[in-house]
């Protein structure tokens, strides 16, 4: 089947040396094609056509200062800002990952219980039964930029109390930054915490 006019019974066989040469030459061709031409051509085209996306979707505030990447989460320690999910790497994006605790791991259960206790202390106005589980669990990447819309909403009473911004305004802000499912179908509704906090910070500054 290889070649319409080739026969498997062909008489003049290739010598081992020239056979080896074919293997080496073919390997070199594909090292160059797949290992250099393809990635460098990809990089060139991507940088030419879509430089913003190709450079990591950097996010700027209104003054034009880079405040991070729209795709990479950040730690927020100030209780007057929306908090991100738990990250075992504290959103240090030079690496990625999590502790990979199994579901029966006592350290994981303890960490989650501590997070729930901490939440109760910081947010006495909200019953714990409304606290969505994404806020007290570690994401897969440790860099999850999102929280669930419910996860943002339950933080409103705390932030409103600390900043004096009316809850209704914060709710409008959360609604504005809630991203729907992709194409109305795929994935989950979510809020980008960095974008939301950037907007909140500007609102507070005004």
């Amino acid at each position: 089947m290889a070649n319409a006019n080739a026969q498997p019974t062909e008489q003049n066989r290739i010598s081992p040396a020239s056979y080896l040469l074919i293997v080496i030459r073919l390997s070199l061709i594909f090292i160059v094609l797949c290992g250099l031409v393809y990635p460098l051509l990809s990089t060139g085209l991507a940088q030419l056509l879509m430089p913003k996306q190709a450079d990591g979707s950097l996010l700027k505030d209104s003054s034009g200062k880079v405040i991070g990447s729209a795709l990479i989460g950040q730690t927020f320690t100030d209780p007057a800002l929306f908090q991100s999910r738990i990250s075992s790497i504290e959103y240090k994006a030079e690496a990625s990952g999590s502790n990979n605790y199994g579901p029966s791991n006592p350290d994981m259960l303890q960490r989650t219980a501590d997070a729930v206790t901490g939440w109760k202390a910081g947010n006495p106005e909200v019953p714990v039964s409304e606290l969505p589980v994404d806020l007290v669990t570690n994401s897969g990447s440790g860099l999850d930029p999102h929280i669930s819309p419910e996860g943002a909403r339950v933080q409103i009473p705390r932030i409103s109390g600390l900043t004096g911004i009316p809850a209704a305004e914060l709710e409008a802000l959360v609604d504005k930054y809630t991203e729907g499912r992709d194409l109305g179908l795929f994935g989950e509704k979510r809020v980008n915490v960095l974008k939301l906090n950037a907007a909140l910070t500007e609102q507070t500054a005004e």
């Binding site: 062909e10 290992g35 996306q53 990979n100 219980a113 969505p132 994935g187 989950e188």
Partner: protein
Amino acid sequence: MGIVQIIVVIAILVLLVKPVGTYLYNVFSGEANRTDRIFGGIERGIFKLGGLSRREGMSWKKYALSFLATNVALVAFGYLVLRLQGALPLNPSGIGRMEESLTFNTVVSFMTNTNLQHYSGETGLSYLSQIIVITMLMFTSAASGFSVAAAFVRGITGQKSLGNFFEDFVKAHTRIFLPAALFLTLVLVALQVPQTLKPTMEVATLEGGTQQIAIGPVASLESIKHLGTNGGGFFGANSAHPFENPSPLTNVIEILAMWTLPASLPYMYGLFARNKRQGWGVFAAMMTLFVLLLSLNYYAEMKGNPQITAMGVDVSQGSMEGKEVRFGVPQSALFTAVTTAATTGSVNNMHDTQTPLGSITPLALMMLNNVFGGKGVGLMNMLMYAILAVFLCGLMVGRTPEFLGRKIEAREMKLVAVAILIHPLIILAPTAAAFLTDLGQGSISNPGYHGLTQVLYEYVSSAANNGSGFEGLADNTVFWNVTTGVVMLLGRYVSIIALLAVAGSLMKKQPVPETIGTFRTDNGLFTGILIGTVLIIGALTFLPVIVLGPIAEHLTLW
């Protein structure tokens, strides 16, 4: 919405099977077709440069030898580059040479299409290594697997010869992987996956701190990682990392990228067999097993972890430990099932943190290793079970079994037995060995039954050439690098060579005419028998160890 979005993705896949399967047939059948005009010129150039003016059909031995020799040459090249990367260009973050046992593990892992990663991409590889070793091996290992599968199908469907490995290898690149990967890269960049040679960025965060953000040529690796069912990520967190997989839409695209080619191979096989129903029968068996195991994962993950439910929080999202908010349980469960079925091994959620019953899904799909399967090997394994199924049926009725009009005799059955038995052997024996030594036990990071699953998962993933990990395992030690390296080699090459031998032997046989007494392999009854054979032979082997690991852990939680 959860189940609806899963059904929509499966429906898209089913619609893609026929056009893509037909295209694959055109690539490998050698019949003249329209695509020759597009690719013919480039291929003639490559054949000329490679010294391949004559491309005669090969015997199975020669085909296997050419496959092995090419793989050895590429592995040697990769080894050298990784050992010397500190002194080579394109290393803006100044990364040093890789340690010997880790280098062995890494090149074997990528050549065998496993992509088990005992290093972390951000800190272990220079950009040059990422492209010229990792990306290059992702292409060549996938093309090798596809070529071998094409040869196997030619053999069992009685074509004139198994074909020429070098020609298949070139065509798999020029007509499938290179154009598809380039297109997919641009789609992913448009959807925000980075593609740059700039070094790690430093940004000032909103709260006034600094954040280092690792970046690089991600999209070009991401696309071939899925198309070639490779699975090795640019970053440690793999496709859970927002740069590798920024949105649910990219998640769906990556799922389809890794799933479509393996799922279309049964259709290609049907075209070679001149009986499309043969292909659909195999596809139906694969899809049935897939949906069963996907449902288990979805159900278990939606149910969540009872110990966290007991803390009183709102768990309506399901088990979110180790998952990303943008994917949630539905997109995570589907990704998990596809990546282990298609032996890709990329992860968009951490398999280690899944609920015990949920983690049976990735384990079982890798243990079966024939539900779609990666880069051609899945189809080969499923057809191997098909041969076993006709043999068992033949024994029951007392007839010499036949498959596609050829008698299945002692030689073929011996080879099939080798190919079937090697898989549990190289999983269970090293798992047991790891528990007998401190070297193995010392790496377990989770106490209790979960620790057993961690070790088991590592070897299952190596043997199935999957490459996903229960990443909690501290696996970058000489012990793990060497043992998993050997398991990956055996898992890849033993069954491929045995099955090529089966194909070579079947091809030489005289076809027997079909009679009323011929056992048909193109109807629903055979699909049912095939599923039964897979479950009885493939699944029962592993049942005891599943009981000791995930099921025991499940019972401690509930």
